[in-house]
Subunit: 429 residues, 2 copies
Amino acid sequence: MKAVNASTTQLKQDLEKLKKNYEEYQKKGLNLNISRGLPCKEQLDLNGEMFHVLDEDNYMAEDGTDCRNYGVMYGLPECTRLFSQLLDIPEENIVLGGESSLNLMYDQFLRYYAFGTLGEKPWSDQAKEHELKWLCPVPGYDCHFNLTEALGFRMINIPLLSTGPDMDMVEKLVANDPAIKGIWCVPQYSNPTGVVYSDETVERLAKMKTAAPDFRIFWDNAYAVHHLYKENIVKDIFKAAKPYGTEDRILYFFSTAKITFAGSGVCLMASGDGTIEETRRLLKLQIFSHDKLNQLRHVKYLKTPENIRNHMKEVAAVLRPRFDLVDRLLTEKRLYEDVYTWFKPDGGYFITVDSYEGCAKKILEMTENAGVKVATAASTYPYHYDPNDSNIRLAPTYPPMEELEEAIKLFCICANIAAIEKVLAERGV
Amino acid sequence: MKAVNASTTQLKQDLEKLKKNYEEYQKKGLNLNISRGLPCKEQLDLNGEMFHVLDEDNYMAEDGTDCRNYGVMYGLPECTRLFSQLLDIPEENIVLGGESSLNLMYDQFLRYYAFGTLGEKPWSDQAKEHELKWLCPVPGYDCHFNLTEALGFRMINIPLLSTGPDMDMVEKLVANDPAIKGIWCVPQYSNPTGVVYSDETVERLAKMKTAAPDFRIFWDNAYAVHHLYKENIVKDIFKAAKPYGTEDRILYFFSTAKITFAGSGVCLMASGDGTIEETRRLLKLQIFSHDKLNQLRHVKYLKTPENIRNHMKEVAAVLRPRFDLVDRLLTEKRLYEDVYTWFKPDGGYFITVDSYEGCAKKILEMTENAGVKVATAASTYPYHYDPNDSNIRLAPTYPPMEELEEAIKLFCICANIAAIEKVLAERGV
């Protein structure tokens, strides 16, 4: 049943009970923060062996390169090969980065901004002539939006459907407006909704005509091997692009941040031949080599694609109970079906809730007033503006189970209260 | 005696002998490359303990932070503190970077280019109005020049004297031209000449009036603790800047690349309060944290400033015989005092030779034709154009002693030949 169909008397009764529950929570003096998408201690503990794979007799690459020294600018060949096999991308289309794929995205974006790409003018130049724009599937990832905002791109919201970005809208926009320079995508277990782009969406992104010759798809495949319940793998966009020759449009990012040690992983960018050649040339301005010892450490620890997949099964075993718990509590504690809706993803790091319209800020304020930071309001929308004030990203991966349980129970109480109060207010009660 | 004062007969005799020597070298079938300023195996071997300071029971920062996870964007406090004590720069004026200080310089440069600084317009905007310029003490470091060239700055050569850049020239230029946005400096054991800027030079750089409010000194103190013969430490530029309030003008870079493992070190940028606040704010667009495990590894291995200084004494003991050898060979093998001159530095990584004018390219061609890459011609000058065609950077740190000896002997033969041929040609012989 929906709250909008419940009697006012019933809703008032519900509210009274809920408010008592809320007051009890306030008295507990909680001080929790479940807002961050971090790996938990148990996940990190799986990687203890990583501390021991290198030592004073083990620092050589397979070709005899001393990894303690400078050199090998684009990444250790065996490390590139491992990811090439894992992701089915040719080695020559991969450049390894350091510990952060966000940093790689930032670098690539700033290259376009300062240097332009493949004969096109730098975006900083183009921005003098007319305002540049960027497509942002929403809800999405705040770190993406922050970068395009800081560089002055006007961000255009694109609804993220269960199949991925609304492709009718995307195709129409990019076909006609050369000021639209790109789109942010998290194609598999999307941050935050968890959807996997459909084959058709991938195909249309690869195929579509763009008015801007330097239109770019930032393909942040952060959760490529991060399955929880089943392997729901997004279609290979490079293979989709091949018939259309649009490989240089795609900037594919991946990292081991949530496979090995977050913040001490290895990341990569893959793209078409032209883009990779250009990136390698510009990389010389920046660095002699990323941390090869860490690349070697990853190769010696992760060993093979199969071993990585097995490791991710262990990670899933750690994470699944957390996702189960959140899903169960969201189911059990919801008083009416219009109080909120959510999506239980096949993998990734988040569960997204859509509250009753106009209630998200209120809910998050309430949880904070009871000592629990659940999320940052509207952080999943460009300019931190959620037009429906309803999207909330839950991050179940980090907190201990007891804390997660406390936090989600409180969240459900607040979500019920906010929705019912809103319904009553709509009735003028 | 000088070649220009020797008899033609004598010079012809010399030349005949030298050419025989050169031919003998050609027959050896050498294949050496001494052009790179890399640490040698023995220097790297000093750090074996680094592989063992972290393990599955040792990954916590002193405040209990799990360094295996995300977070601590500006660097681990104990790592910042260690460098703060070593360099006598307040912790709050330091931001830690990753494995490459060149990358930090690139990042900072691109921030100014894309975002501007402290209320001034981005350099990319200013460049639309008039050509921007940059001061380049010469000879200098090619990686510096490559960046300013790629971003379209017109580079102005500033003679590097034994006291540092020609400050009369610098002061006059920056006082009058708001298009001059900065200067590259390697103030201590300069790359490549090895000079240490005088106190007066540092004082004048800190004090000088600049027409551009966003004029910046990129202070690449790469060799701050890299003494070889004596501790010739450059004056503290932040202390010099304090009375004039110009701290934000200074971007101080340092790294452990040549202290621990090259390419797997930790680096930092230090500046005034305003710049650091701005950098920290913009860093959020880019990364959650640099590799904290590597920062912790450095703290646990390097421990104290005193320990770092002692470690650098061990490094110096490895490197000194190489510098002694080069200095001895350059002395013994030079037939006339105008064939070349050089400077034996108190520390750093290079010895710079100035050949007889107009001979550098020829000399390097000759060594390459005998199988030895000594250096890249004119790489120490902007646009790879050395107006005197005479400056050559020797990098004694990497090759084994025998290879270094072979290479330098060959170099001396070639330098003598080129000079004598030039003198004879000048006589019309």
